[in-house]
Structure formats: structure tokens, C-alpha cells
């Protein structure tokens, strides 16, 4: 049975079709890697719950669904994209059903030394940074989902910031999937390279789009599968703000691998906001490859109905004097389920590591469920590592306090839930996005305009 469920057959067939089609076109330099990755996926298949890292997230329904290629001719109007794109961007790249949509994108006003473009043509004539970084960070050997994406991705975003260049306004990369009759799969791929001394703010958004004229934006598309890989490299003393916003449709499978590599003294603030998806899993794997680097990895998931979200973090302290802060929160209602795994590995050489991990969960119903697992592997002896997790309901003392001042029960609850969730939103540096998410939070939370609504 397991073999049937993790059967990679259709994906291999798709790879062979693509290989023929690619034929004499460029990108040949990548073909050996693609073939090896495909072969590896064929060996591994989709992960199953027998595997420790996937114990709480069952991909059997995904493996059993036949996903076809996404419609290349969908052309959503800019008005459909508008809610996904807050004002004040430096540039935006929009991909519809896995393909670059130039008519929805804008890279007009970037400072010199900043490259923001679609990957497909860049693959044909790869420059040195692309060859140096693409598929060099996200290893596919033990990661079947990375293998699958590496074999099959056709397009994606390339963001390169040259040494010493500062991009002040955020760059937005948006992957949307439109509603289609049969289940489809896309393979978004993003490579972000911030060279030494540079600074960059980037927002990566994933969303399901309803067809033109369909009413509530929350209703979204039918079943689809997003298998995304993002590689993020922060050079020496670079600073990167990275924010992921996931608003996939209610029937979507969202599997995303975010591979972060930080050079010495670089700093990263990464935020992940999970609002949509039937099943969402993010594998965040960060390594400190140089001393003195720091990362703040923060996330918020608002889950309702039968949504399932799994944040799987692995932070590797390979060098001394690095600091990591993990702060993830989940708000669950209905029968929603959240999984948090935070693995912190401290190598023998990584003295003076300072790592802190916090996972806080707010359960708004008795049927919601959370599994939270801190995992520390520490081989150095002069380090500071702490972890803490809480799972609880609204504090009755706080609720009584607010009500005793005249706030109605519903308003008091909403205020407390918003305060819990807002703590993460408030830490997002990109101002327009922060404001937008604040409004969205108010509308989605119980007592708001769309109670428990999953996109």
C-alpha cells in the first residue's frame, strides 16, 4: 500500500516528456543534476509517516492524487493580484501557474547592482552567480521534495544583490495558482543571493486565485500541489529581511523547502505567515557557515476547519558566535492541526552559540491539536540554548479582567487572540505588508468579518 501511495511513476513520466521537449534548448548545464535528482526521487518517493521527520504529517492523500500540468494560458487580471501586493514595492515578479507573467510584473525602478528576473531565460545563459548558487544549497539527496522540484522546475525567481548595494523597499515574488478543473502541480523555484555588505527585503507569496468573477476570494481554487524550493544566501555582513506569506486555497497542498545559508556576520529576519492550504509543510533549514551571524526565524499560522500546518525547522550552528531566535505561534480553531519541530544542531566548533526557541499555541476549540517538538543536538560546551513551548486556551483571568471593564465577551476574546497573533505580525519589518496583514488578521479571527475562514 505504501508503495502505491508514494509511487513516483507519473512524475518520472512527466520528467521524460520535459526532457524530450527541452531537447536542444539551453539549460544543458543543469541536466545532469536534474537527472540525478529525478532518479533520487524515484528511489525515495514521497515521505511517509513511518519516517521520523514526517511522523505527524501524512502525504498519502497527496501521493494518491494524480496532478497534471497547470494551465499555461491563464491570465488573471491585475485586480485579482492587487490584494496580494501591498503598495510600496521596489519590484515584483508574478508567476501564474508556474510561469512568469511579465504583464503582471514590474522591475522598472531598481537600483544598479540589483537583478530581479525570471529564472527560465537565465537558465539558458547562466552567469557565474547562478551557476555558483542554484541548487547548490538545497541538497536533494535526503529530501525527496527538493529532488522533485530540482528535476521539474521550469521557472522561478532570481534575485541577486551585488556587493554593498542596499535595496530599501521590498521586492515581491508572487506565485499564484488559478482554479482549474483537474488537480495540477507547480514547482516554484526562487534563488536569492545577497552579496557581502548588501541589504535586501524580500516578500515571497504563494496564493490560490479564484477565476475572474467568482465571489469570495477565500473560496479559492480546486485541489493543487505547490512544491516550492527557495534558496537564500546572505553574504558576509549582509542583511536580509525575508517574509513568506502563504494564502493557498482551501484544497491546496503546499510543500515548501526554504534553505538558508548565512556567511559571517550576516543577519537575517525571516517571517512566515501561514493562512491557507489544506496541508502546508515548510522545511526551513538554515546553516551558519561563518562566525558572528544571527537569524530571527518567526512564524504565525492561523488555522481553521481541518487545516494542517507543519513547520519543520533545522538550524545548524556550524561556526562560533552565532545567534538564532526561533519564535513560532499557532492559532487553531475547529479541528485544525499544527506541528512544530525545532531542531537546533550545535557543532563542536560552534562555541558561544546563543540559540533560543519558543513555540506558543493557542487552541480555540477542544478538537484542535498541536504537536510541538524541540530537538537539541549540542556538541559544543560553551553555549546558551533554551527552548520553550506552550499550548493553551485563552487565559480566563485575562478574559474576566477585560469583561469586568465592560468589553463584551466576543470583543474581549477577539482582543486577546489578536494580541497573541499580532505579536508576530508586528515584528514584520516591511511596513505596507505588516499593515495589510494586520487588517487581514482582524478580518479572519473569530469575531471578525470572516470567522474561521480559510482561504
Amino acid at each position: 500500500m505504501i508503495q502505491t501511495l508514494s509511487r513516483p511513476g507519473p512524475y518520472i513520466a512527466e520528467f521524460e516528456r520535459l526532457e524530450t521537449r527541452r531537447g536542444g534548448r539551453g539549460g544543458a548545464w543543469l541536466m545532469p543534476l536534474r537527472r540525478a535528482a529525478m532518479a533520487r526521487f524515484a528511489e525515495l518517493g514521497f515521505p511517509t509517516t513511518d519516517q521520523e521527520h514526517w511522523r505527524h504529517t501524512n502525504l498519502a492523500p497527496l501521493a494518491a492524487t494524480p496532478f497534471g500540468p497547470a494551465d499555461p494560458d491563464a491570465h488573471p487580471g491585475p485586480e485579482q493580484l492587487a490584494p496580494l501586493l501591498p503598495a510600496g514595492q521596489a519590484a515584483r515578479l508574478v508567476f501564474v501557474n508556474g510561469r512568469f507573467a511579465p504583464e503582471l510584473s514590474d522591475t522598472g525602478s531598481l537600483p544598479e547592482g540589483v537583478l530581479v528576473r525570471d529564472l527560465a531565460p537565465a537558465l539558458e545563459q547562466p552567469d557565474a552567480p547562478l551557476r555558483a548558487h542554484l541548487a547548490r544549497h538545497a541538497a536533494y539527496r535526503d529530501q525527496p521534495l527538493v529532488a522533485l522540484n530540482s528535476a521539474l522546475f521550469e521557472d522561478g525567481a532570481l534575485v541577486h544583490v551585488a556587493r554593498g548595494v542596499v535595496v530599501e523597499r521590498p521586492i515581491h515574488v508572487v506565485f499564484v495558482t488559478t482554479r482549474q478543473a483537474a488537480p495540477v502541480v507547480t514547482y516554484p523555484r526562487t534563488l536569492i543571493v545577497a552579496e557581502a555588505q548588501s541589504a535586501l527585503s524580500l516578500v515571497e507569496a504563494f496564493a490560490g486565485l479564484p477565476p475572474p468573477g467568482s465571489q469570495p476570494p477565500g473560496a479559492g481554487a480546486g485541489a493543487y500541489f505547490t512544491n516550492a524550493v527557495t534558496e537564500l544566501v546572505a553574504g558576509e555582513n549582509a542583511h536580509v529581511d525575508y517574509c513568506k506569506v502563504q494564502r493557498e486555497s482551501a484544497a491546496a497542498f503546499h510543500l515548501h523547502t526554504l534553505r538558508i545559508s548565512q556567511q559571517c556576520n550576516s543577519t537575517l529576519a525571516a517571517h512566515a505567515v501561514t493562512l491557507g492550504g489544506r496541508l502546508a509543510r515548510t522545511d526551513l533549514h538554515a546553516t551558519f557557515d561563518g562566525p558572528g551571524a544571527g537569524a530571527a526565524l518567526e512564524g504565525l499560522a492561523l488555522l481553521a476547519g481541518t487545516q494542517h500546518a507543519d513547520d519543520h525547522l533545522r538550524v545548524e550552528h556550524l561556526q562560533p558566535h552565532c545567534t538564532s531566535r526561533e519564535f513560532y505561534k499557532n492559532v487553531l480553531s475547529g479541528q485544525a492541526r499544527a506541528v512544530f519541530t525545532g531542531r537546533i544542531c550545535v557543532a563542536r566548533t560552534a562555541q558561544k552559540t546563543d540559540a533560543k526557541q519558543t513555540n506558543m499555541n493557542l487552541l480555540l476549540s477542544d478538537a484542535a491539536r498541536v504537536d510541538t517538538r524541540p530537538q537539541l543536538e549540542i556538541f559544543a560546551d560553551d553555549v546558551k540554548c533554551t527552548h520553550g513551548a506552550t499550548i493553551g486556551q485563552l487565559d480566563p483571568d485575562a478574559l474576566f479582567y477585560l469583561r469586568s471593564r465592560g468589553l463584551p465577551d466576543g470583543a474581549a476574546r477577539q482582543l486577546l487572540i489578536q494580541a497573541f497573533a499580532g505579536e508576530i505580525i508586528d515584528r514584520i519589518p516591511a511596513e505596507a505588508l505588516r499593515t495589510q496583514l494586520r487588517r487581514e488578521l482582524a478580518a479572519r479571527l473569530p469575531g471578525g468579518a470572516a470567522p474561521g475562514g480559510a482561504a
Binding site: L402, R403, S404, R405, G406, L407, A411, L415, Q418, A419
Partner: protein
């Protein structure tokens, strides 16, 4: 204004209040004193609507209405206020946003238009002076990281903004230094009026040097064993509660 008749209250298996009778008229200040565990805080919380307590017998009339039927927010809208013994820290909720929301909920109930941000700020600034509270606290998260004295000042500040008809102060004086105690007392005294009543629950007589009560009641093991004028508080200060406990034991 408030009439408590034969009030019995239980938490799980323990009967905490065993028949309280108390009448409070508009303009009066009542003090309820007693040793730890006598039921003082329970009485204050039951009046504010805390649901963890079960009323097994008796009734409470507030301005002629059955108070026990009202939710905590309905009681607040009807003019009841409890200054908490342990004000709750609520991270992420700003003190000013919370208080403005509460005030406007009460104003709606009173048929008054809501205050906008500027009007609220002007009112808040004025009332903060009453309790000599640092204005920065207004812009911080509700009680989060406040010192003991700052929390108690914040309670009395909220009271001054919400202008209740009946204010219950639950050990507002516990753990305060003299400056904070004086500031809290000053806040209460400025609010005293012929239309407003106070019930001040305290463990110590010290607060009553600053807020002079009309009536003092001694609560022992869930019963009011003695009531008197302000001189009763002084007597308790000198003699402690032991003699009343012995009297109560003899009577039982």
C-alpha cells in the same frame, strides 16, 4: 444602591461565604476588613461576576436589579467596577486601546457618543494626574512589566476614567509603598461623591488613614462578625483579629 442578603458562595466543595448581609447607599464608603482567607476577595469577585464561584443561596440587588443574573460586562455597563487585587498582565493589548474600547462600550450603554482618540487622550491625561501615573504606561501593553505600585495606580486610573457608580477595591493597598498608597487614596478621595459608593476590601488599617470610611465591617470565616464606624478599624489595628475570632468561636 447595593443590597446583599444572606449570600452563600462556594468554590468546588468549600463554602467560602456563609451568609453575608450588607447594605451600601449612594455616597457611602464601606470598608471590609479581615484576616487572609476570610472571604473578602471572594465577595469582591462575586460582585464583579467571576464565574468560578457558585452562589448557592441569597441574593444581591444593585439599584433594584438582580445583580447575579448579569454578565461581568453588563455589570460594568451598569456602573460597577472592581479594582483587582492582582491586575492581569495582557501582552499585546495596549493600555490606551483597551481603556478607550472599554470606555466607549460604557458610553454607548449610557447613550453618550463615543470619544475619538484625541478626546480620549485628553481625558486620560487629566485622570492620570489624579494618581500621579507616568503617561508612558498608557502606551505600553496592559500591566505588562508594570511594578506592583504601577499596576495599582493603573487600576485606580481606569476607575477614574470609567467613573463607576459602585467601586470595589480589592486590597488595592497591599504591597504599596507610602507614595503609591497616597496616590491611590488621593484618586479615590477625588472620586468620592454623593452619587458614588465604594467598598474597600483591605487587610490593613493603614489605607483607612487616607480614605476615611463611613462603615467598617469585619469578615471572619465567611461571615460579617462585627460592623461599626471608622473607630472599629483603629481598634482592629490595636487589638488584631484574635479577640473577634474568640468571640465568634464562643458564639458558635
Amino acid at each position: 444602591m447595593l443590597e446583599i442578603r444572606d449570600l452563600h458562595v462556594r468554590v468546588e466543595e468549600h463554602e467560602i461565604l456563609k451568609g453575608i448581609d450588607l447594605t451600601v447607599r449612594a455616597g457611602e464608603v464601606h470598608s471590609i476588613m479581615g484576616p487572609n482567607g476570610s472571604g473578602k476577595s471572594t465577595l469582591a469577585q462575586v460582585l464583579a461576576g467571576r464565574e468560578t464561584f457558585e452562589v448557592t443561596q441569597g441574593q444581591v440587588l444593585y439599584e433594584g436589579r438582580n445583580l447575579l443574573e448579569l454578565t461581568p460586562e453588563e455589570r460594568a455597563c451598569a456602573g460597577l467596577f472592581l479594582a483587582f487585587q492582582y491586575p492581569v498582565e495582557i501582552p499585546g493589548v495596549s493600555n490606551s486601546h483597551f481603556l478607550k474600547t472599554a470606555l466607549n462600550a460604557l458610553r454607548r450603554q449610557r447613550g453618550q457618543p463615543p470619544l475619538d482618540a484625541m478626546e480620549f487622550l485628553a481625558l486620560a491625561r487629566e485622570r492620570m494626574q489624579l494618581v500621579e501615573m507616568d503617561e508612558r504606561l498608557l502606551h505600553r501593553a496592559l500591566n505588562e512589566g508594570f511594578s506592583g505600585g504601577e499596576k495599582k495606580r493603573n487600576e485606580v486610573f481606569q476607575m477614574a476614567v470609567l467613573e463607576p457608580k459602585l467601586a470595589l477595591l480589592d486590597e488595592t493597598d497591599s504591597g504599596l509603598d507610602i507614595d503609591a498608597l497616597r496616590a491611590v487614596a488621593q484618586g479615590v478621595n477625588r472620586l468620592r461623591s454623593p452619587q458614588r459608593a465604594f467598598i474597600i476590601v483591605t487587610h490593613y488599617q493603614r489605607l483607612l488613614n487616607y480614605i476615611v470610611p463611613d462603615r467598617v465591617h469585619v469578615l471572619l470565616e465567611g461571615r460579617i462578625v462585627r460592623s461599626g464606624g471608622k473607630e472599629l478599624a483603629l481598634e482592629l489595628e490595636q487589638r488584631g483579629y484574635g479577640w473577634l475570632e474568640q468571640e465568634a468561636a464562643r458564639a458558635a
